[in-house]
Symmetry: C2
């Protein structure tokens, strides 16, 4: 479903989409830093954005585009978040849309804008203008890899995938590129994800499907929607597949929605696994909660605990820290009913830390991928949270990010 | 007010109190690990305990003692938290009280019990019994330093102070010992603080004064009351000073309460400054909030941000991370009204990161003590939060704490 070919195809996998990434000199290291994604055919658009009250200028611009229901392009840069930049920042974000629209011959309010990088600096608009123009010239069906690389910051690799599903007897394609960030709580710019599909779907239903998918994917890694200044997840649906237009909830919508969800979960997992300095990928399954919100709250409490994260980094069997984080999550758990396993080995039950086999636990903790199962035994709701450990490298990366 | 002599006198500064700390072999490193504090004269008692639903056995025992309103002694150990230990743990905590009461000739329910250290292991009760007996034998007016050293875990130094105030024409003395823990969010055992005073005060008023003092001190470092399994703050007031008994709110109560508050804030600051691996001590003043709760929430959001903390560790001028944490705090702030200074140098105003003088900022960030002022300009409420930075050493300490 998510092959190497799919990864390479990325956002240009669905019909009618092209992409490009170029070097504009915005990143200090000289890497690719400006991306453009384009659909000639007008696309329905939906978006989920940061709830942070300090929202970056491009987020403000893009929300207006999503409100129109249609879009033709996405322009994005890395290296500078254009956040906390006031009127100048808003003007610069609007200029990014104008330049892109001018080059592509579409309307200004058909261009989604996104930025990621350091907060508090203005965009170098001369470089940006040359970069956008160059990117538009390079738009191609092969351009997704470069576009993906142009939006990363401290990511160690670009996240991309693609897939397809049959809807109404027609093959409908999906593609995506994404970037992550510091994973304890990514309170700085930014998680970005751009999804393309050639499905024909009503914009309101597209928004509904994206909101649902985000809830169990990007909002289930330590990325809370309300954290960073620049978080943006945007989907464009251009209808080029020719499926019977999805205009109501039903089988077609469910298929579309399920596929979008799978795609988003896959990207979310890759983002968590590539958290800054990560040496471990932790999957935290919380079951037996009374509500999804409760299950998520417990899982996030564990995922956000620096003490839990450093213990996994140190391959140190420390279930006490996990049950402690469950206990202070704010959810009305019952310690005596709670059961916790690390990699299938029971570590907590009946209010007690279990006398587990030390050798078996060492084997579990030596793996890169570790599953933590937390059964609350209070109800039927569940949530899965993805996160990573907290390493020396995390501190190093974040102690000298701007300098 | 808090001199070296005061520090040495500690909990034995007030009349009628003795203390001791001994080596019982509970800590792996062989350091002092069992403490006893005793007042011959019956004391009024008050306590504030963790709100974590996974509360350790000693917390459960001590809450019952506080409910009686009187106590004669405190027994505490470090090296093993006696948390997540079920029925056996509860039995062991009760045994600690029994042994202490037997040696001191007081009632079992007059003995406060506290433990700190690794979660999930049972106390070695043979060692504990010898330790308590030895400690009771060594009780003295000079024993506070040893008692303080016997309750520390990863602290780099024991926290102690003492002071006095005139109430009703009589000198009333206060003393305290305390220990801290990991400071990002101390979600493991434990913050402990034992306060003694020779004031004569009604137990209900003592509880009220302690609760108020805790709110602006221990609950204003990253220690939320609801975090660890073992957090305990206990005060004993034995009346030996002979002041007119404080039985109602009024001038005497206010003096008592203000002094207790000053003592608690001083200890809280020392705990924050000695956070695991700390190289910086951060004072976060939030002003202009609509309520104290709002001010505290904004300050805690900044204090708990790993990205803010690593930036200060790296002496990296990164105000974007601070305003970002203000923005996602959940408080309805207005970015354009918010003003942020680092060490008196303005870094954010009018929705913009300020073009501050780089040399001046380097000087600010090179200090160990850094003040972050956040003015919300929305109301008259304020809160001060104390925290530390996040260093390599923090990760190292916590990656191999149990092993």
């Amino acid at each position: 479903m998510f092959s190497e070919n799919h990864r390479i195809a990325g956002v240009a996998h669905p019909k009618g989409f092209k992409a490009a990434g170029v070097r504009a000199g915005i990143k200090k290291n000289g890497n690719l830093d400006v991306a453009v994604i384009h659909t000639e055919r007008e696309a329905a658009v939906a978006g989920v954005f940061t709830k942070n009250l300090v929202a970056a200028a491009p987020v403000q611009v893009s929300k207006k585009v999503v409100a129109t229901g249609t879009a033709h392009a996405i322009v994005a840069n890395a290296g500078c978040a254009n956040a906390c930049t006031g009127e100048q920042g808003l003007h610069d974000a609007e200029r990014m849309a104008e330049i892109t629209a001018g080059e592509l011959g579409c309307k200004v309010d058909d261009v989604i804008v996104a930025s990621t990088g350091v907060i508090g600096f203005n965009l170098p608009m001369d470089k940006m203008e040359s970069g956008i123009k160059a990117a538009v010239q390079k738009l191609s069906r092969e351009g997704s890899v470069n576009a993906g690389n142009a939006i990363v910051t401290t990511d160690t690799y670009s996240k991309a995938c693609a897939t397809e599903v049959e809807i109404g007897g027609v093959e409908v394609r999906f593609g995506a590129i994404a970037k992550g960030s510091g994973m304890i709580r990514p309170d700085m710019a930014t998680m970005l994800c751009f999804i393309t599909t050639d499905a024909d779907i009503d914009a309101k239903l597209l928004q509904s499907a994206l909101s649902d998918a985000t809830e169990v994917s990007f909002n289930c890694i330590s990325v809370d929607g309300d954290m960073s200044t620049n978080d943006s997840v945007v989907v464009l649906a251009n209808g080029a597949a020719g499926n019977p237009k999805i205009t109501e909830r039903g089988e077609d919508y469910e298929k579309f929605s399920a596929t979008l969800k799978t795609l988003c979960v896959e990207l979310a997992k890759r983002i968590a696994a590539d958290g800054e300095g990560a040496t471990k990928f932790l999957t935290i399954n919380v079951t037996g909660a009374q509500t999804f919100a409760d299950a998520k709250r417990v899982g996030m409490s564990v995922a956000n605990s620096p003490l839990v994260k450093t213990a996994f980094f140190g391959q140190d069997a420390n279930p006490g820290r996990t049950i402690c984080a469950v206990g202070y999550s704010g959810v009305d758990i019952v310690p005596e009913k709670t059961v916790i396993d690390f990699g299938g080995v029971n570590v907590y039950r009946d209010g007690l830390v279990t006398k587990f086999d030390a050798e078996a636990m060492r084997n579990v903790l030596a793996q890169r991928d570790i599953v933590v199962d937390i059964a609350l035994n209070l109800g039927d709701a569940a949530a899965t949270i993805y996160t990573c450990d907290l390493s020396f490298q995390y501190v190093k990366i974040n102690a000298d990010y701007t300098t």
